[in-house]
Homo-oligomer: 693 residues x 2
Amino acid sequence: MGKCINHPDRETSYICLKHQVYLCEDCLTCRDPKIYCKYRSSCPIWFISKRQQKWDEEAQKEAEEVSCEVTFLPAGQKVSVPVNSTLLVAAQAADVHLNASCNGKGSCGKCRLVAVSGDLKAPPTPMLTDEEKEKGYLLACQTQVTNDMTVEIPPEVLEQKLKIAGMGRQVTDQLKGLVSEIDPMLKQIPLQLDPPTFQDSVSDLERMNRGLKKTGCDVAKLNVGIKVMRQLAEVVRRENWNITVSVIRRKCANEILEVHAGNGGQKSLGLAIDVGTTTIVVYLVDMTDGAVLAAAAGHNRQADCGDDVINRIVCAEKDGVKKLSKMALATINSLIGEVLDSVESKKEDVRNVVISGNTTMMHLLLQIEPRYIRRDPYIPTVSDFPIIKAGEIGLAANPIAAVFIMPGPASYVGGDIVSGILYTGFHREDPMTLFIDIGTNGEIVLGNKEWLMTAACSAGPAFEGGGIRWGMRAEEGAIEKVTIDPQTLVPTITTVGAEPPRGICGSGIIDLIAELLKTGIVDRSGRFVKSLVNDRVRYQEDEPTYVLVFADQTPMEKDIVFTESDMKNLIYSKGAVYAGFTTLLSEAGMDFSMVGRMIITGGFGQYLNIEKAVTIGLLPDIERSKFVYMGNSSIVGAYMALLSTRYRQEAREICNTMTCVDFSNTPKYMDEFTSALFLPHTNLEAFPSVITG
Amino acid sequence: MGKCINHPDRETSYICLKHQVYLCEDCLTCRDPKIYCKYRSSCPIWFISKRQQKWDEEAQKEAEEVSCEVTFLPAGQKVSVPVNSTLLVAAQAADVHLNASCNGKGSCGKCRLVAVSGDLKAPPTPMLTDEEKEKGYLLACQTQVTNDMTVEIPPEVLEQKLKIAGMGRQVTDQLKGLVSEIDPMLKQIPLQLDPPTFQDSVSDLERMNRGLKKTGCDVAKLNVGIKVMRQLAEVVRRENWNITVSVIRRKCANEILEVHAGNGGQKSLGLAIDVGTTTIVVYLVDMTDGAVLAAAAGHNRQADCGDDVINRIVCAEKDGVKKLSKMALATINSLIGEVLDSVESKKEDVRNVVISGNTTMMHLLLQIEPRYIRRDPYIPTVSDFPIIKAGEIGLAANPIAAVFIMPGPASYVGGDIVSGILYTGFHREDPMTLFIDIGTNGEIVLGNKEWLMTAACSAGPAFEGGGIRWGMRAEEGAIEKVTIDPQTLVPTITTVGAEPPRGICGSGIIDLIAELLKTGIVDRSGRFVKSLVNDRVRYQEDEPTYVLVFADQTPMEKDIVFTESDMKNLIYSKGAVYAGFTTLLSEAGMDFSMVGRMIITGGFGQYLNIEKAVTIGLLPDIERSKFVYMGNSSIVGAYMALLSTRYRQEAREICNTMTCVDFSNTPKYMDEFTSALFLPHTNLEAFPSVITG
């Protein structure tokens, strides 16, 4: 227990382990970025609640006696949980997906449900309006089940179809031909062996090795496992010595993994998988010609444990890394099932896999201890992963499938970035390039074929809808484009899939802020101009607010609004990214004028309005022709590595070449960050086109 | 069904699949070597009994309804089996060891039990005397359980302590120092790593690899498994970066198998294991100085499925290779427990293992398909085994322990012979050497440092007591030395452990035959001289017999006798070995005069009276100083390979150098065999000292 840093008269048990400060519950949930966001969840922070602990202990005791049944509408999933479990725990147990951005702290207000019947116990929360409370809204993470009960998932929370980068025929068709020489990790080598005779009586294994040698396989480096030895004699005779041998290549040694029927025209499929913190994308690839046969994308089920990597690690420490691994696998395997079904193939046909993702995602997926990623001095357990077998990690592929994990140089710059560089290819070229991947985090790379420098900035999940009242991912119904009439202040919006509006996604938020600034609704500090009050700009719960869509035009019959707190969250995020650019350039003794090209990637990048991103100061005010959008580069890099040894090798080289800068250890970064907390920036000279525009 | 080859008027369902001849039940059980032994169990033969099949089907049906309880005295083990199971099946299920030399064919008469109470069903058998039948004796493999019953294991069948070669302090103490440079497969490398800092923030795995590189480990060839990656972060921090890494070396690649606490003075133990068809020997070795800390030997529990490798393979085909593997493992693991207990160590301390054994034993132990070993053209599935992990094969050692299996060049010349050559070392020397390993089989090697030639002869299990009425292994109470007074024909015997006589083992049998020949009780064809009938030489069940010990001097109160059939079995065995010598020499264009040295090894060799072995024509009549006994060379070779990479490499080289001759494909062998079916031989000129002696 200690005194709250903002309210010295209050005792609290919440402590930030990094900054060693106490914060009371109000400060944690006040949504005032000056107080809360300073220590928000995307920086290495860990709050311990002694009260929560006590609750847990009590619940544990009672649980041994009673359990309650919870029913989730509209689908009607039922689950039995110990009395006093939270509804979030019940939802996870029932495999009902609820977005719990803040990992159950009660501070994001995203895990909303509506009580239909039954008793419940919940502390007061400022995350719900009085109107909502009247309608029976509750926060799943804060509500304890005390009896059998039924709750409903309100329509605005129900998961919708994602619109993300890297999908669609027109994108994937372009990939074929990107890799000229296909060279998988796990090779299928057909052999026609001579049957044994008295004159030629070598063992079956030796006979097979002899056959492999003729195909150019280095038999001296070839290992074989007990499973193959056990099946060998039967298979070769059943198939009349006409067999196919699966050989995996690992570092200098190879291994025979399987022997089966010869030239039976087996399919040879591969998977490229991008495991994002928020979104997972899967490509199914024909390993014979490199064609992308199908693609699928879905929400990373781990989001039930928080929006960002820190919350995921905290959850892994609490509930075990297996839980998080299972959640990611549930999404990945269901997507794999989807792409395989679409081409009527079986998972056994998949013998090569490449997975790209940030360092935390990879640790969690492989059930490798992630806790030191978020602790000084931020050390990952593994950065360059050996090739592993799909069966070892529970991937829905042939258990012997070779899995290559994109290597990542640091705890906060992972294989997804290496994969992105591999695809965009600026590490092979002359022009000085600034590369940014905007996802749940923001990773920046600066360099060219001579050198590469990288850092991660705590952009936070705002660009993916996290921490924003009506923020959402780019699902159907998300507002993705906004213009505001300067006279009437009435907005014109475009939604994903042209569905009725349900919230606002990253690109819509950037548009909106640029428009709010241009129309003078907010000033350069992001504050609403007090004098300007009409039916679009009003106070709501003591906070200035812009109404984007009125309730009667939404499926959930509620106003979609953008508050001053939302604005401040967003400014913190864009400031973190911009400060990343300037700090990294400064570390290299450079400025924006020396940047020949700026590459933007990430699922987000595809819808970004560059002009407006410059207007709000997210992107620098440089010549617009220097900007290049490259969509989801992580999945394409994974696709390339799937097909080619050279690219897998190149990924390792990129990873080894990169110099990592740790902003938490770079005092300049905090100055740059503070300067960037204006629209577009404190220093207007850096944004000449915005001033004149 | 077909006509018996000896009795054309009889229909029979027993067929020899190799020779495509039918044999009636009388011929199979008549014990006349001219008929039965010609097709005896040690040649590649497989009898199918349609009648047995029908019985099985009936039993299956009834079994679904009733099961019976069988109690085995004197220990009182109880087991429930389906009605109509044989007592042999019940004994195996109850883990009661019964020697079933013929694998349940009913032809060896070894699996004797005495009925105490309960009903039973059994066909008539000539294997039991009328007297025995009156006493309630029965054959377990021929007797079906129809009710709850109690049986007793008679004292002469109870397993006794083995006396075998390679045991005892005086033998094992000599081994220390045999290997000068100790170099295990699985190395324990202690590391003191620098803790990570912001300036040195490589991943834990990279940090460990860096440490390993400093010790001279080739990190480029180093793989690491998922298990190590999962435990790494916790272990290095718990141990304050002072760790020990277990690295296994396989072909060109190495693998990190385990990371644990640093320099805690862990024991480093190794096991050398000789898996004989009959006997298993285990040495526990201190890997730091090569000392043999303990040794143990026991009966291979697989003997419950037959005396020789062919019966074991037949059993594996019928019941699955897992059953045979489990039986061998039961013996091995119990012996490992014994040696570990004696030095108060745990199996986790064992990290290196070398196993030596014949090709069939190795296939069965590893659960690798053995069936093609006994089928034209006799092909093993694997001859050169990769290093495997103890956990993969169920060995009672640390699951990550590296297991090296001695490579064997052919189906009937295995790793035990390579191991023997490695130890005796004649492959490095000039003198032309003839090497014989007499165990359940007889393998012969001819050669020197220039070349090696090898073959196996079907000696059969007679030298280990198989197929001999009162034959037994060299257990306590076995008669191992015999002289016969030429006047009175009264024998003087010596038994193993000076215990009351219970039967006769190999060395005793050789002594006995030599004495029977010298005293004129039998003639050179092995037939009993009819005129000579006194109380020692008499007819018993229409067969001439020599009484070695009268009933009142035995614990089981029965005469220990040696019959004319026993004699013929033995002559077939010794003839097979001698024909092996002459055929192999002839294939090399040589004769005995060119042999500079003759090495005899095998558990048997230790008690062999060379003079008498020459007298009966088992060994050639060459200068006696050329004979060298080297005991159990297989276990010593395994010991050497355990300690040294060079010797493991040398074993592979020996295996690759050997030219294998297949006698079943060498017409000369049958001629040589026929000539050797006399005492000592048809050609007396080859045995000048025997003639004059």
